[in-house]
Amino acid sequence: MAISADVRHLFLGSAGIALITLPLWRWPSFSNSTTVALGYLIVVLLVAATSRLWVAVTTSIAAMLAFNFFFLPPVGAFVIADPHNWIALFAFLVVSLVASNLSAVARDRTRVAETRRDELARLLDLSRDVLLITDSDEAHARLAGFIARRFDLEYAAICMPQESEWAVFRAGPRELTLDPRDLSSAFASAEADHRFTPEGVSLIPLRLGTKPIGVVAAAGRPLEPGTFEAVAGIAAIALERAQFLDERKSAELARQSEELKSALLASLGHDLRTPLTAIRVAASNLQASWPSELERREQSDLILAEVDQLTRLFQNILEMARIDAGAVTEDMRWVAASEIVDAARSRVEHTLRGRNLRIAVESDRLARLDPRLTTAALSQLLENAAQYSAADLPIEVAATIDGSGLTLAVRDHGPGIPPADLPHVFERFYRGANAKRRRSGTGMGLAIARGILAVERGTISAENCADGGARFTMVVPAEVK
């Protein structure tokens, strides 16, 4: 491309010289040597300003020759008789040299500026890319990928020193094997500037502050040294950031688990102490001589109810612990939806006593799933519905088996779930504003249901119905026949 552009410029210069030469030579009365020389100078200047040095020099020699041949006595011969004409020739040469040099410098600057701009844009893109890295496990590989992509490299790699060898995270189409010795020497070099391996791979140390943490390798396209350093800087920051995010994540996890523990303790504190108090006082009331027969009956009922409550709490804690420990396994069987509903109902018979339960089972098909787990989850939903709606309001249960599995929905006609509580209802020990008034819940039921559904690869969701009440829907994916 550059050659043909030069040739075109040369041709245009020659044409310009011919254009000046022909009329002035044909009609000498319009010209003297000054006008001719100035005319040639314009052509030389134009060529020099737009083209490279050798084109300008060739054009100026051509102009000088034409000047000499056509206009300087003796006309028609390449002889310079008058020493003044040497000066004219020299002037052509100087003009062409200076002008083409100036233009070359200007064009070089433009080219450098464009390269810079291009690389800056790539660096900017890279720095945006690295913000996407949030997981330190894959940070190195993704970083190498981003560098290769943004700088159109055939090979880019982030190399991290391990105990005795190098972990190389590479990207780009070219397969390369880096010599560990090259990496080690780049890693250990005191200077931040880059170096080349014999295979033409550029290496630059990755530094956090002054501490080297790895090496960046790149090949396939020359990078400005400054740019390459900037890439290494961005890479180092990205790795530090990923590491920082990781630490924050684990700190967050630790905090959550702490919160969970204290929530568990607070919840157990209340859920155990209150029934224990009631049992203790009621039992001593029974021992005393004052109660009437009716009062004795009341106190013993109270004790039985509290023991039930403690038993349920204990079962829930066990269930939760089993789910947490991953000790819950599936035991698949072919079951009908009605079996699950009946089993769940009898499981929470005590809580549902006297409640108006409306059951709609809309299918005779069988689903292959773990009846024990599904029943446990459904009974938690039934218990929840009974606890959060008044005793005279109905509870509706709908069961369907379709092509994808079993869907169970439990709907109550209570006050519904306050919108602020809706995102949290499946969290352990979360008890909504309404729940604070009732002790009967353990704050674990819905979390247990969700845990069980997770084992069954199912889903559970909560919503408020338009005409009041809350609906919980659980979907258990299953083979169906």
Binding site: R273, T274, A278, R280, V281, S284, L302, R439
Partner: protein, 234 residues
């Protein structure tokens, strides 16, 4: 006790209501039962109970806040029920003016004893100031600043006497560290409990038969001290 004492039981938990209210009635108290802090403050003005048994974990208001509201209306004794393991709330309630506390799970006798002590304090406050009081085999003579066991006088420093007298005037009732510090050293000393620990240790050496195993001056861990009027058997 000539007239029937009226107790307001404030607990949102139905099972506690069902167990405790008959117990109190069986001991001759008249009992009103409410389940929220708002109802409690209303009942305090409507029913004018002689004593309030207040659960700190109410659904509508912080227990400490209920305590403060009751105290604004009246000086009637408040016995706090707490289900929390943390002592901070109990101490806050006591500092605000609750008279005593019982931690769940409590026994019937524990609660009845606390109620008796709190009611006795009221009747004593109405009685003329006594000059001397007997605690176990100790006789505390307020006017002469003397403490006698049998025929032997126990020599106490002024601060030791002040502490013993303070606890004896509130016999069987827990006093928080803060309340004791404030009464003996003044409001600036409330954050310097080490004064109190030292003083209690000195006093125990002088009045307790076995200072390592106190029978009179009892610690309520993290909360305060209580002087037992009928000392525990050795």
């Amino acid at each position: 006790m000539t007239r029937t004492m009226r107790i307001l039981l404030v607990d949102d938990d139905v099972s506690i209501q069902r167990a405790v209210a008959p117990l109190l009635r069986s001991r001759g108290y008249e009992v009103d039962v409410v389940g929220t802090g708002a109802e409690a403050t209303n009942a305090v003005s409507d029913k004018a109970p002689d004593l309030v048994v207040l659960d700190l974990g109410l659904p509508d208001l912080e227990g400490v806040e209920v305590c403060r509201r009751i105290r604004k209306q009246s000086k009637m004794p408040i016995v706090v029920l707490s289900a929390r393991a943390g002592e901070a709330e109990k101490v806050a309630a006591l500092d605000i003016g609750a008279d005593d506390y019982v931690t769940k799970p409590f026994s019937a006798e524990e609660l009845l004893a606390r109620i008796r002590v709190a009611l006795r304090r009221v009747s004593e406050a109405e009685a003329p100031e006594v000059e001397r009081v007997e605690v176990g085999d100790l006789t505390i003579d307020y006017s002469r600043h003397r403490v006698v066991r049998g025929d032997d006088e126990i020599r106490l420093t002024p601060k030791e006497f002040e502490l013993l007298a303070l606890l004896a005037r509130n016999a069987d009732r827990v006093l928080t560290h803060r309340a004791i510090l404030k009464a003996i050293w003044g409001p600036n000393a409330v954050d310097q409990p080490e004064h109190l620990w030292v003083l209690v240790a000195q006093l125990r050496k002088k009045i307790e038969p076995d200072p390592g195993n106190p029978r009179y001056l009892l610690s309520e861990p993290w909360v305060g001290y209580r002087l037992a009027s009928s000392p525990l058997a050795p």
